[in-house]
């Protein structure tokens, strides 16, 4: 049953445009990475985009050189700390509620207005990452809402849906979400032990099936032949602690070092993001 509180459009289902491949010259450029393997993309971070919220931030990660590939654009607002509703049970700590939502126009396919499981998944990972950074017992009986709108996802318009890149896109999205939420929390003046930032590293196979896989930071699915595994890490640099680790994909069991190096690269990416975050916050104070 359609949601009658929104305007749903025609009764018959509509089809996203199907493009013909006949009349076009070969558009597919060979998949090459435009950066060295241990360099992250440039990012732009700004706080205070939503003046009516207690804290807010906007993050934009640079578009890669390939045309048609959008960069990640995130907007985050933080409301609170505020008192919990009367019906809520007593909590000695601050209650975090995170909400991640893709805008309908953020991806190749139009997204609906109801949250789908992958967005809920992102929200849960984000909460885990932030919970480790916030000094939660300073605000008993109160709650804070962290809301992230993914204005534009990291996606290549040329690749087809069948390649299953969404899984890896989610990794990049989570990394960005953690960084932007940390900036918004700092903007809201909520005490944290440290600024947490997200970083992504991946194991990629660039030259055919039998080549030796390499570890890269900040992977873009459209720049790599095949991604074997990826991990997203939320890291507190001054404490040297990892608050959240999300690993996906499969690694050869013969090589345990591969896993360690993947995590190390993730931490390195997170440190890079942290530098931007600290720079942005320092700029705001001035």
């Amino acid at each position: 049953m359609a949601d009658r509180r929104r305007i749903n459009g025609p009764a018959g289902a509509t089809i996203p445009p199907v493009f013909d491949d006949v009349s076009t010259p070969k558009l597919k450029s060979p998949k090459t990475r435009s950066r060295p393997p241990n360099t992250t993309r440039k990012m732009y971070l700004k706080t205070g985009v939503t003046p009516s919220a207690s804290g807010s931030a906007y993050l934009e990660i640079e578009t890669s050189a390939t045309p048609g590939v959008s960069g990640l654009k995130l907007s985050c607002s933080v409301h609170g700390p505020r008192s919990l509703p009367r019906s809520a049970p007593f909590s000695p700590h601050i209650v975090l509620s995170t909400h991640v939502k893709y805008a309908p126009f953020a991806t190749k396919q139009r997204r609906g207005y109801l949250r789908d499981p992958s967005e809920r998944d992102l929200g849960i990972h984000l909460e885990a990452a932030l919970r480790g950074a916030i000094i939660a017992d300073r605000w008993p009986k109160s709650g804070v809402d962290i809301i992230i709108s993914i204005v534009e996802g990291d996606q290549d318009r040329e690749t087809s849906l069948l390649q299953g890149d969404e899984v890896w896109d989610m990794m990049n999205a989570l990394g960005g979400c953690i960084t932007v939420a940390a900036a918004a929390l700092a903007d809201a003046g909520i005490d944290c032990v440290d600024t947490v930032a997200g970083g992504v590293a991946a194991l990629v196979q660039d030259a055919g099936e039998d080549s030796i896989p390499t570890v890269v930071v900040d992977p873009i699915p459209s720049e790599h032949e095949k991604i074997l595994a990826a991990c997203c890490i939320a890291y507190l640099p001054t404490r040297d602690e990892v608050t959240n680790l999300w690993f996906r994909g499969d690694l050869p069991t013969s090589d345990i070092d591969l896993y360690t190096s993947l995590v190390e690269k993730g931490i390195q990416a997170s440190k890079n993001a942290n530098r931007v975050l600290v720079g942005c916050l320092a700029e705001t104070i001035e």
Binding site: G9, P10, P16, S23, T50, P51, P104
Partner: protein
């Protein structure tokens, strides 16, 4: 007896008793020659500057970002194909026939605007709840205005079984070929599908006057929209789009919405308690604080793009302060606003 003097900082005063705060601001001009100023420092007839930026998104067919003071709206227009066999009660159209007046746009529901406020854009709009009454009203108002202004023509949204060869694009083919096409067209050229425009609006930040901002974003995004050229593929029996060719959507006119709220001297709670009607002020482009204090609001949509001012819609709700003269005078204010917005949209 003089009132006890307590000095309160302005933001605290605004928080504790917003109505007297705004009232004092409007009346406290010690010398009457100075015009009344609002709490946000603007004059009563002063609007916030509008900033519009087009094509900020890469996955949408058309998009815009509109800032009106601290209100920020993002709009993305995306076209999807609706084959006619999925349209219930479809009436075939021939190319010569005038589609206007047949109401294809409205009957087949080809324009789908939706407004999302629950993005944490203001403390009262938190996600996880169904769309609020305000979000629903705004979506419906944008929807009906889109249809009543006729900005988008249905001709742009039709997909024909044969490529346009007869009427408009004769220069595409040679003359002889065009003739041949003409023969074939007679029998089997028909509409096979329609483009449906999904117009999604996302409030990044909310500080009053959502309708003006949302409507400006819709207009800017539609003017920026270009749909891929679509054709019918008889072998696959589906509509396919060209990767390279795009066609700009024809948008007729530039309707601009202008909203004002009426602030009354007596407080909202005192309605109907026998307090005589006090003074009232027309506050143009109200912000969040002012909107909560005003019962009555007027929105006028005007279009001056063809030389003379045309009123596309007037909406007024609540209260009795706005009479015939005020509405008439408001048209001049809306006209002034149209010029400002038109400058920003260029």
């Amino acid at each position: 007896m003089s009132a006890p003097t307590i000095k309160l900082p302005a933001p605290l005063f605004a928080r504790l008793s917003p109505h007297p705060f705004l009232l004092r601001n409007l009346t406290s001009a010690a010398d009457p020659s100075r015009p009344a100023t609002r709490t946000n420092g603007r004059g009563t007839q002063e609007t916030r500057p509008l900033h519009a930026k087009a094509s900020s998104l890469s996955h949408a067919h058309g998009s815009s970002l509109v800032r009106l003071g601290d209100t920020t709206v993002l709009c993305g227009v995306r076209g999807e194909v609706l084959p006619v066999e999925r349209v219930p009660l479809f009436r075939p159209v021939d190319r010569g026939g005038v589609g206007l007046g047949r109401g294809e746009l409205r009957d087949y529901d080809l324009l789908v605007p939706n407004i999302e406020l629950a993005t944490g854009s203001a403390p009262q709009f938190l996600p996880g709840v169904p769309p609020t009454a305000l979000a629903q009203t705004l979506s419906t108002r944008v929807y009906s205005l889109l249809h009543s202004t006729g900005m988008v023509g249905v001709e742009d949204l039709r997909v024909w079984s044969k490529p346009a060869g007869g009427g408009e694009d004769t220069e595409m083919e040679g003359a002889g070929e065009g003739q041949e096409e003409e023969e074939g067209v007679k029998e089997e050229d028909r509409v096979v599908a329609y483009w449906v425009l999904y117009i999604d609006l996302l409030f990044v930040s909310f500080d009053g006057n959502p309708f003006d901002a949302a409507w400006a974003a819709v207009v800017a995004a539609l003017r920026n929209t270009s749909l891929p050229v679509a054709r019918w593929d008889p072998e696959r029996e589906m509509v396919v789009c060209s990767r390279t060719e795009k066609r700009q959507l024809n948008v007729k006119g530039l309707p601009v919405a202008c909203t004002a709220a009426v602030f009354e001297e007596k407080e909202l709670g005192e309605v109907g308690t026998g307090v005589p009607e006090g003074r009232h002020w027309l506050l143009l482009d109200p912000d969040r604080l002012e909107e909560t204090l005003c019962r009555e609001a007027i929105t006028m949509v005007v279009d001056c793009s063809d030389g003379e001012t045309r009123i596309k819609s007037i909406e007024k709700q609540g209260g009795t302060a706005i009479g015939r003269e005020l509405v008439r005078g408001f048209a001049t204010i809306a006209e002034k606003r149209w010029k400002e917005v038109q400058g920003a949209m260029k």
